[in-house]
């Protein structure tokens, strides 16, 4: 299972500290959402030196990612084009009807993160588009762990609405607690237990935590030199032919 973290400068802990804590908590990997916190992967999808060193040090996978926080769909489109070729996982911050719509209709986006933030909303049209384009919808459990009072109630109500729509259309999903420091990181069993307490299915949440790893694996394979198109790979004996 993977967790997607905000590392320094976006958060209060470095990518290495997140990786060390996540390894102790029993995660298989961390996705570093902050663009400046980790070097991008190489041309053919192999991890950067920094990511490889972190992997050797702590024994868990460290994935480079980017979170695109754009003002509108036009600038988001430019940013997606820029980062798709250099980053393993491309996330787009939602929270606005136009951006949510753009993200789910853009197959180059891997994850639509925090779709219910601010004025953002989700409906059946977006869910169908997300399913058809393979865009994962993030369930942000941050407020469940860290907010209180009315803010938490509203966030949980939004999560429930999102869950009902996304499960009905079977759109792909990811789950994360959006930790901004190693102190906000929670072990997978705690994440699952807390989500279960607010009505999520345990199995479904675990699937959402694993999905980060599947996205990273798929994109690495796509960027590797052997990959031609889905289902077609360069074989070993190509040169002889």
């Amino acid at each position: 299972m993977y967790e997607a973290v905000h590392a320094r400068p976006d958060g209060d802990a470095t990518a290495a500290r997140h990786a060390a804590t996540a390894a102790r908590h029993g995660y298989d990997g961390v996705v570093v959402r902050t663009r400046d916190a980790l070097d991008p992967a190489g041309e053919s999808g192999e991890p950067s030196d920094e990511a490889a060193a972190l992997r050797d040090e702590y024994g868990i996978d460290v994935v480079d990612a980017v979170e695109i926080d754009a003002a509108d769909a036009t600038s988001a489109s430019g940013a997606v084009g820029n980062y798709r070729s250099s980053r393993t996982v491309v996330c787009l911050v939602g929270g606005d009807d136009g951006l949510n719509r753009f993200a789910v209709e853009e197959p180059r986006v891997d994850v639509l993160v925090r779709p219910m933030d601010g004025s953002g909303d989700f409906n059946h049209v977006l869910a169908k588009a997300a399913r058809d384009n393979g865009v994962h919808v993030e369930f942000d459990l941050g407020p469940l762990f860290r907010a209180t009072g009315g803010k938490r109630v509203r966030a949980l109500a939004d999560l429930r609405k999102l869950r009902e729509i996304v499960t009905y259309y079977d759109a792909p999903h990811v789950v994360s607690a959006n930790p901004r420091s190693h102190l906000e990181l929670r072990a997978p069993r705690e994440v699952v237990a807390a989500a279960e307490a607010v009505g999520f299915d345990a199995e479904w949440v675990e699937e959402g935590l694993r999905a980060w790893g599947e996205i990273a694996g798929r994109n690495r394979e796509r960027r590797s030199e052997a990959f031609i198109e889905p289902g077609v790979r360069l074989g070993r004996y190509e040169e002889d032919g």
Binding site: L183, R186, A194
Partner: protein, 159 residues
């Protein structure tokens, strides 16, 4: 009052909890118990909170690290785990928290999961982001003091 016959006594589970904070944070037993009760009340409501019956049995904390034993009713361990995960701050100090394990007796809990502190912490200057900065060093962890407060780093960042 006369104590209950064995089959009527509540059965308990004991959760070993690991705690992590910034080095300057000071959290006390009372504060932690209160945070636990509030978290339970907010997540499970009064009814669920009474069912889970979370009580703090042992607590220690110092230098940014601590541990505790929390008692919960047998059969409500998942709820207890959820509540413990939802403790995000104690007396305004952010805490990292994790259930290390669960036992059926206090003694087993202590023997198996407690006293695993990451070693003593020392204060020294480390090279971090192109500057020498004071840091609290505990095992692999480096809590570096910067202008904007502490930053969590690891040995990897400072070598």
């Amino acid at each position: 009052m006369k104590h209950l016959p064995k089959h009527l006594r509540p059965r308990w589970r004991y959760l070993a909890v690991g705690i992590e904070t910034w080095p300057d944070a000071e959290i006390r037993r009372r504060g932690f118990q209160r945070a636990l009760w509030y978290a339970a009340g907010n997540l499970l409501g009064d009814a669920g909170s009474a069912d889970a019956d979370l009580t703090l049995l042992a607590f220690s904390h110092g230098d940014g690290e601590g541990e505790a034993i929390v008692r919960a009713r047998h059969g409500h361990v998942d709820e207890a785990r959820a509540v413990i995960g939802c403790v995000s701050e104690v007396a305004d100090a952010p805490v990292g928290i994790r259930v290390r394990g669960i036992s059926g007796t206090v003694r087993a809990c202590e023997e198996r999961y407690m006293g695993r502190a990451g070693g003593s912490s020392t204060q020294r200057d480390v090279a971090f982001e192109d500057a020498e900065r004071p840091a609290v060093v505990r095992g692999d962890a480096r809590d570096v003091r910067t202008e904007s407060g502490y930053v969590g780093a690891a040995a990897f960042d400072t070598e």
